[in-house]
């Protein structure tokens, strides 16, 4: 039986991993929920955010906490631009066409990143105060992981407040629930989608930057972690932020604990869980909340 310290470490690791997945997946959940468009390029935005932060810190020497918001805004701008141009075509194609087109877009992202940054795995340098561990009464916990959990929890709270308590959030929920009806009520669903899309890209970028330790940056990032993000979104229930949060945390914890207790088969535990789960509840945890 592993020590309390180890268990706590594992828990923090799993939770922070899950929160990163949530941050990245949250944008996808919302756009999927409103317009039912399948955007396989979503992980690409997380990648763009991560690499933007890398460029700002490594090439321009900016501290991480300054580079972070700039990287987020940059990614949101790119996302907005793409949404106004390429995604207009994507909206008009049928479901499988969307899958293919956004896949093509992902390939373009991968190729572009490779052109600029090369193909080796890279890391974003960690700011001094956040690296290292805390020692408290015999327990060792990574400072950075705690920071991650704290920030992500804060963001999740912010999202929840926006969703439940603001007018914007209410309109968004209406658009997710029934886009046609929302339009009929005078809600500008198109504009809402553009805003939500950009915000989603920003969240993904945040996840990409903060999570660069766990999900290292490389050109194939956009494709490598796509499965994970898709699993979070479908297990959580398409269009449900609450579902994505629960699913992401669950998958993060299951994966971390799985890899520790079953090192040989560690990678599967998460897949087997997802398959088993979807067999029982094919619509996910919370349908279109």
């Amino acid at each position: 039986m592993p020590s309390l310290s180890t268990l706590l470490s594992l828990f923090i690791d799993g939770a922070s991993y899950g929160m990163i997945l949530f941050l990245i997946a949250s944008g996808l959940t919302v756009t999927l929920g409103i317009m039912r468009i399948i955007n396989l390029a979503h992980c690409g935005f997380a990648m763009i955010g991560g690499y933007a932060a890398l460029a700002l810190t490594s090439w321009m020497g900016l501290p991480l906490l300054v580079a972070l918001p700039i990287a987020i805004l940059l990614t949101m701008a790119i996302g907005f631009l793409l949404e106004q141009t390429i995604y207009r075509v994507v909206y008009r194609t049928h479901e499988f066409g969307q899958i293919l087109m956004t896949l093509g877009l992902t390939y373009l992202m991968v190729a572009t990143i490779n052109l600029i940054f090369g193909s080796l795995m890279q890391n974003i340098p960690m700011p001094e105060p956040l690296s290292g561990v805390w020692l408290a009464g015999g327990l060792t916990v990574s400072k950075y992981r705690i920071f991650l959990v704290a920030v992500s929890a804060g963001v999740a709270l912010l999202l929840w407040t926006t969703f439940e308590w603001t007018t914007f959030g209410t309109r968004l929920r209406a658009a997710i629930d029934n886009p046609r009806m929302a339009r009929a009520c005078g809600i500008d669903v198109g504009r809402l989608l553009s805003i939500a899309f950009a915000a989603g890209c920003g969240l993904a970028a945040l996840g990409g930057v903060l999570g660069a330790q766990m999900l290292p940056l490389e050109p194939f990032y956009a494709l490598k972690y796509l499965v994970l993000v898709l699993m979070v979104v479908t297990v959580g229930g398409l269009g449900s932020l609450k579902g994505s949060l629960v699913a992401a945390l669950a998958l993060g914890l299951i994966d971390t604990f799985g890899r520790y207790f079953l090192p040989e088969l560690g990678a599967f535990v998460i897949y087997v869980t997802v398959f088993a789960f979807l067999l029982i509840r094919p619509r996910g945890l919370f349908q279109n909340a």
């Binding site: 390429i86 293919l100 087109m101 093509g104 877009l105 390939y107 190729a111 193909s119 699993m231």
Partner: protein, 335 residues
Amino acid sequence: MRELRDPSALPEMRSALRTHRLGWFEVVMLAVFAAVYYLLPGYLPLATQVAIMIIFAISLDLALGYGGIETLGHAVFYGIGGYAAGFYALYVCQEPISGLLVAALVAGLFGVLSGIVVLRAKGLTLVMLTLACATMVHEFANSMRAITGGDDGLSGYRIDPVLGLFRFDLFGRTAYVYSVCVLIVVFLLARIVANSNFGLVARGIRSNSQRMQLLGVPVLNRLVLLYAVSGAFAGIAGALSAQVTKLVGLNTLAFTLSGNVLIVLILGGIGRLYGAVIGSIVFVVLSDRAAAIDPFNWLFILGGLIMLVVWLAPDGIVGRFSALTWQFRKQERRP
């Protein structure tokens, strides 16, 4: 009760039940294959790759073009077939044809097992499940590196001469003819499936699966069968590759391959079997030329190509072509 007449006397019915008919396309293809053998002996390895890709694409066309099964993980069958053939040659028997059959069986079986779970889902969930399934098997092969050779792959097995007569030579002549023959067999088998009652039902499921239920057809059962058949053919492609190159690597299970075969079909056009042929030729030749120059920048071309084709020619090259010939035929019909 009307007298039963020969269907050839019911021309409307023959064209009303649209089946795949052998025609000049097949003749041209055979001629092209023969021409490559005699005129371009230096390109035989590339041509062999084309033949293998065609088989793989045909398998996907059955699942996607006929049954409407949207999958981003079709490489899982290719890889399973490849490893099955590799293990078979390594530990059991080096005879190639039985190796293909074993691979088909193993891949088909996996199709049944995974299909039962995966095919209950629709839309994005289905896509995700196929992707997750392929990723899972890929991880499995990666972690079982003691057996599978991991990144280095499975190798070191011999393959006996085909039919006991034709040794695999250094120039790839035997490999080429062997692959083309397997392709012809697979093509004919795929035609049989497509033209059968089952083929029609598969198309019906793709068109309106809810209505199929209400015609009394157990849709999930039929989809699983289709998926298994498709998987078996993909397994044959993978096995062929393993036998011809004497190497099976993790790339046979990778997402890149699943993506590539999808692109092949989108390029060529789905649901017609011809699309698999055209798309494979264009794709394999293009990727060979481009990848030789720069593998990453090839992704630019690939990405741009997918987007353009989906946007401008969603029915692929074959679709565009048949749209044109349809215009011709319509004009001929008018008195």
